[in-house]
């Protein structure tokens, strides 16, 4: 066994040795090395085209051969690619092969060599590699511009998303070079000292003008060179490729071409489209980019197999479409659409279609549009179509249209063809909805009706007929015709019951009648109004039926209750309905709506059932009442806002809040502290009765300021925070004064009155009349004893030249210029004497002035000043005269001068002395005047008066004796 194994191994080794030897012999005798290797360059494609031949192939038959190709870059040792190429060839046949370089061929020198091997089972003895051919160098660098920078590839066309390598060759340029792609620097790797490469991956499409890549020398800041990379969009496969015929003469093929791949600078035109039909073998270049017409030949080809081919410089795409022509029929739109026998509810529509042959039936679809609705009907048509449109509405405009499609093999509907028509009018189909309002206390009835809907009007309503029939006594029907679009009329009826029938009429006839009965006794009783809550959706209300004999219910209201016309509305409800929701677009928040619910008896008589009122939404009161302040006292005042109407407010007024601000920290009883929106604290009085429109604020302090605000409040809010009104409580003293002074005044008045009543008594007691000496009994006694001829001298008969008042001591003799005795000498001894002093010679004052003095009474010296001459003391210098014009000055002067002079008079002899201005002396008496110590200053005459105590004085003169009571003495006489 072991021997056998050794033998077998030896045999195999021998056989292998023989085989090797044979090959060496063949290689030696049959050199199959590729020869005549030629390398050409396509720079744009970056391709090396190789061609070679093998001369030494034996026999003139084809051999299956494998060629191994090596490509080196820059130097032969730098093999960048090696691969095999299998082909069959004959002796001396040239083999072609191409290789695409990712690096532009300009960027570096390339070297190529090839060797071969026979890969044919028929010639196993030749199955060994030949020797390599010699290296072939490929160098496409432009050596003309050693000082120029080149960027490669130049204007290369690539597809979007491709990867591409670019390079620059700097030649002898030593500066740093930066390269940019669309303004952004790119970084590469250096291939050799003068060549750098940049790999760009997934290049995007930026513009048709290409993507600019440029390099600049950093030092010179100069653009050295650049290139444009023309990036084409990827050619898309045509979408929605479809073909159809409308007339069996032409096939129209359409598609969506997608993006245009055209580029600027003629780098790539738009993609082309070609239609190829495989059965006929025909091809057509399409002029347009999205459609192509194909002429149908008369050879009745039914099946078509189209291929749509699109291509540009970079890509070619195609789509296929196989179809039966009869299944791609798109009929042309119908024509001659007509309407016949148009009535109020029907019409006949007719149309024609383009014939497609006797074997074709079209399915036509009729569409009827009207009143916002659309109805479709299908009709099968050969040549002419016809369809009855029924269930139409009178007086309605319709649009009818039709389109058709192949009934056997539906492909597409044709375009629509249509026309419009209008149906004539018909009599209104429904009675108008009628209701009435009755003014209380009169027989005036206003009849309202709602316009009929278009559906029920069946045309334009021309007028409404109103027929009034007296139900209580037989009488003629009263007819009234009201032209549309009126919706109401007013009827004046008497106290009877009436049946009113209302119909609406158009050009085609009248509607059924709406009947309503107005009862003689309306029976409207007082029904309390119920408050209901509304919502944005309306008012929900319910009621209790009163009688079982009910025909229905009516709810009436005004949409605009604040307007005079009020926009009267009503809603009729069935007999079994006891609740409803009243809604209206006219409802507004803050408006109070009033509802009346009537019950309609079977006799069509309406009875008021309930009254409701409410707001859809209550709003806060918009204004506060205008408040008047009354009864202002030192401790209270009353606020009144009686003109404030609670009915016209945007919510139900539930009461009022009275706010009072004061300096007092504590609120009065009945008030509570409240914080206003401005954070001020005040006292709040609450009034819960909306009809209470006065309020008295009490327990106030006198002479204090208060501020008040009255605001209404509703169930959820109160009125605006308005301006507070100020009030000041008055002082309480005037009242006290009134209480004191009035009684005092009354007392004084009473006293005065009493005095007046007792004046005579008072006079007698206090100032009795001065007895007239002439009427004295003493005088009569003298007269009778002495000279009966003696008379009293009249004042006008004497010329006084001096008057001297002598205060005569009892028993002493008063010296005087004259020596005449007084007539009443014994009495005069107790009295003061008045001397008339002579005036100065040169007196040049005003005219004579005579003052008559009642010596009985005290008289102020100032009174005498009224005579026009300022009284001065006899010793007063003339310069003082002018100063002593007022009574006060006068008194002072008197006090100063005369009191001094009077000092010479013993105090016990006189009580008071007065100076009185005297009448100017007569001119003729001037010379007779003598000077003495009592001479008065010039231009004045003075008298000295002496006030005598009442008890000592002579009795006062009577009125009649004022003048006569003053005795003007002559120069030698003394008179009293």
């Amino acid at each position: 066994m072991a021997l056998f194994a050794v033998f077998q191994t030896t045999f195999l080794l021998t056989l292998l040795s023989l085989r090797t030897h044979q090959s060496e012999v063949l290689a030696e005798h049959l050199p199959l090395t590729p020869e005549a290797l030629k390398v050409s360059v396509n720079s744009a494609q970056q391709c090396l085209h190789l061609q070679w031949t093998v001369h030494n192939l034996p026999y003139n038959q084809e051999f299956k051969m494998i060629f191994q190709i090596q490509i080196s870059r820059t130097e032969t040792s730098n093999v960048i690619w090696m691969g095999n190429y299998s082909t069959t060839m004959k002796r001396n046949e040239t083999v072609h092969w191409s290789w695409e370089s990712e690096l532009p061929l300009e960027c570096a020198a390339h070297f190529v060599r090839i060797r071969s091997v026979v890969d044919d089972a028929r010639f196993p003895e030749w199955n060994f590699w030949s020797s390599w051919s010699s290296w072939q160098e490929v160098n496409v660098q432009d050596s003309t511009g050693q000082d120029t920078l080149f960027v490669f590839p130049k204007d290369k066309l690539v597809e979007e998303g491709s990867n591409i390598t670019i390079c620059y060759i700097s030649g002898n340029i030593q500066n740093d070079i930066s390269c940019y792609l669309e303004g952004e620097q790119i970084h590469g790797e250096q291939l050799d000292p003068h060549v750098s490469t940049f790999k760009l991956e997934n290049v995007p499409f930026i513009r048709k003008g290409g993507t600019n890549i440029y390099c600049e020398e950093k030092q010179r800041k100069a653009i050295s060179n650049g290139t444009v990379l023309f990036v084409s969009k990827v050619l898309e496969e045509p979408k929605d490729f479809s073909c159809e015929t409308r007339d069996f003469k032409t096939l129209i093929c359409t598609w969506d071409p997608g993006a245009n791949t055209a580029l600027d600078w003629s780098k790539q035109p738009s993609q082309s489209y070609t239609l190829f039909e495989s059965y006929s073998g025909k091809k057509k270049h399409c002029e347009e980019k999205n459609r192509c017409n194909w002429q149908i030949t008369q050879d009745s080809q039914e099946i078509y197999n189209f291929t749509l081919i699109t291509e540009n410089y970079l890509r070619k795409r195609s789509v296929n479409l196989l179809f039966n022509l009869t299944h791609r029929v798109h009929p042309m739109s119908p024509f001659s659409v007509q309407f016949e026998n148009i009535s109020a509810t029907s019409a006949v529509m007719t149309w024609k279609v383009h014939s497609l042959g006797d074997y074709f039936t079209l399915l036509c679809q009729v569409e009827l549009h009207g009143e916002g609705k659309m109805i479709q009907h299908n009709v099968s048509v050969k040549a002419n179509g016809k369809y009855l449109l029924n269930e139409l509405e009178p007086n309605t405009e319709y649009v009818a249209q039709v389109h058709c499609a192949d009934d056997n093999h539906f492909w597409k509907w044709s375009e629509w063809s249509g026309r419009d028509f209008t149906t004539p009018e018909a009599a209104p189909s429904e009675a108008p909805d009628v209701w009435r309002t009755m003014k209380s206390g009169s027989h005036n009835v206003t009849l309202f009706w709602k316009p009929l809907s278009k559906f029920h009007a069946n045309g334009k309503i021309l007028f409404y007929n109103v027929a009034v029939e007296n139900l209580d006594k037989p009488s003629r029907l009263e007819h009234r015709s009201i032209p549309a679009p009126a919706n109401s009329t007013e009827l004046t009826l008497d106290g009877c019951s009436y049946q009113i029938r209302v119909t609406a009429s158009n050009s085609a006839g009248a509607s059924p009648a709406a009947v309503i009965v107005v009862s003689a006794a309306p029976g409207n009783k007082e029904i309390e109004e119920e408050i209901i809550e509304g919502t944005e959706d309306g008012f929900s209300m319910s009621w209790k039926p009163q009688s079982g004999d009910v025909m229905g219910y009516v709810v009436e209201w005004c949409d605009r209750p604040q307007d005079p016309l009020c926009d009267f509305q009503w809603k009729k409800l069935g007999p079994n309905t006891t609740s409803t929701v009243i809604s209206s677009d006219a409802f507004r928040p803050g408006v109070q709506y009033n509802f009346r619910i009537y019950e309609l008896s079977t006799k069509r008589i309406a009875h008021l059932l309930e009254r409701k009122t409410g707001y859809t939404r209550e709003l806060a009161p918009s204004d506060n009442p205008h408040v008047v302040t009354n009864n202002l006292t030192s401790h209270s005042f009353t606020l009144s806002w009686k003109n404030y109407s609670t009915k016209s407010q945007p919510a139900f007024i539930r009461g009022y809040h009275v706010y009072l601000k004061s300096k007092e920290e504590q609120c009065q009883p009945g008030a509570e502290k409240a914080v206003l929106p401005d954070d001020t604290v005040c006292c709040q009085y609450k009034i819960d009765n909306p009809e209470q429109k006065t309020f008295t604020v009490e327990n106030l302090k006198p002479e204090s300021f208060y501020e008040f605000l009255v605001t209404p409040h509703t169930s959820f809010s109160e009125g605006p925070s308005g301006t507070f009104t100020k009030v000041r409580t008055p002082d309480e003293y005037p009242y006290m004064l009134v209480h004191v002074i009035v009684p005092v005044v009354i007392c004084v008045v009473l006293l005065v009155c009493g005095c007046l009543l007792k004046s005579q008594w008072m006079k007698d007691k206090c100032y009795p009349d001065i007895p007239d000496p002439y009427k004295s009994s003493v005088l009569s006694l003298i007269k009778s004893k002495e000279n009966p001829h003696r008379t009293i001298m009249s004042i006008s008969d004497c010329i006084p030249d001096a008057i001297e008042v002598v205060n005569k001591q009892e028993g002493s003799k008063i010296q005087s210029l004259g020596t005449r005795k007084s007539l009443t000498e014994p009495e005069l001894t107790k009295l003061s004497y008045l001397y008339l002093l002579p005036t100065e010679k040169n007196y040049s004052g005003p005219g004579p002035c005579i003052c008559f003095e009642n010596y009985t009474y005290n008289q102020a010296a100032s009174d005498c000043a009224s005579c026009g001459h300022a009284p001065v003391s006899p010793e007063a210098p003339p310069s003082q005269w002018g100063l002593l014009t007022s009574s006060e000055n006068l008194l002072k002067a008197l006090e100063k001068n005369y009191m001094n002079s009077l000092g010479e008079i013993p105090a016990g002899e006189t009580t008071l002395n007065y100076v009185s201005q005297l009448a100017s002396p007569m001119s003729g008496d001037k010379d007779s005047l003598s000077t003495n110590a009592l001479v008065p200053p010039p231009c004045s005459e003075y008298k000295m008066q002496m006030a005598v105590p009442l008890c000592l004085a002579s009795p006062p003169p009577t009125e009649n004796s004022d003048l006569s009571s003053i005795t003007l003495l002559g120069p030698s006489e003394h008179y009293r």
Partner: protein, 251 residues
């Protein structure tokens, strides 16, 4: 910025349509000062880079600071302001007309290279581009209007458009044909060209302004000579004109 652009667009539209319509109607203003005022206004409006250069740069993607810095007028491409001042009036008009003719051709070439969205639909991103393309169209109308007024002024000055008159020749000679420099260089060259165009119009505006300040100039042409009917209807002739800018235009 969009509001300003729209305003300028509208102004350009009005001016362009006004002068284009005048040109179409073959009518020239007979008053020297009226015509000069129009020329000044046109030159002033068109010297603004926002009327042509800015939309061009946006379309080409050159509106980046680095590129904007390098978008400078190529020296010698257009006659300098001094050179324009040194020209006679007729020579100045001819030079300006030739410059504008060159710009028109350049614009036409650029517009040919810029496909519009066409019937394939216009994506939202293409809308700014569409506005800029519209501005290029307006700029072309404006140039046409200015050329028409130059023609009218030339007629008013009594020169025959057909008579050749020396224009300001650019220094140097045309460069030899070079291999395709690539789209990037063409874009940049277009930018420089348009920068020069706006500068020339600015210089032209200055020259026109000096015309207005010179009293003798105004009186010399008053009353204006009635234009021959055929002359007023004639379009500016290309004969007898020499292109002033020497720069090669990217096509």
């Amino acid at each position: 910025m969009p509001t300003q652009t729209t305003g300028r667009t509208l102004l350009s539209l009005v001016l362009g349509l006004l002068f284009a319509s005048m040109a179409a109607m073959g009518s020239c203003p007979g008053d020297f000062h009226v015509l000069l005022g129009q020329l000044q206004k046109q030159a002033h409006a068109m010297q603004d880079p926002s009327s042509l250069l800015d939309p061009y740069m946006r379309i080409q993607g050159l509106d980046f600071p680095q590129l904007r810095e390098h978008c400078t007028e190529r020296p010698g491409a257009f006659p300098s302001e001094g050179a324009l001042r040194g020209l006679g009036r007729r020579g100045f008009l001819r030079t300006l007309d030739a410059t504008l003719g060159l710009v028109l051709r350049r614009l036409a070439a650029v517009q040919q290279q810029l496909p519009e969205a066409g019937r394939l639909g216009r994506p939202p991103a293409a809308r700014p581009r569409a506005q800029d393309l519209e501005m290029l169209k307006m700029a072309r109308l404006n140039i046409l209007g200015l050329r028409n007024n130059i023609f009218c002024m030339s007629r008013l000055l009594g020169s025959s458009w057909d008579v050749a008159e020396p224009t300001q020749a650019a220094p140097g000679t045309s460069p030899p044909p070079t291999p395709d420099p690539g789209a990037f260089q063409r874009k940049l060259e277009g930018c420089r060209f348009l920068r020069g165009y706006h500068r020339v119009l600015s210089s032209a505006g200055q020259v026109f302004g000096e015309w207005g300040k010179s009293p003798s100039q105004g009186h010399r042409h008053r009353p204006p000579r009635a234009l021959p009917e055929d002359a007023s209807r004639a379009r500016p002739s290309r004969r007898g004109r020499r292109l002033v800018p020497r720069g090669q235009l990217p096509r």
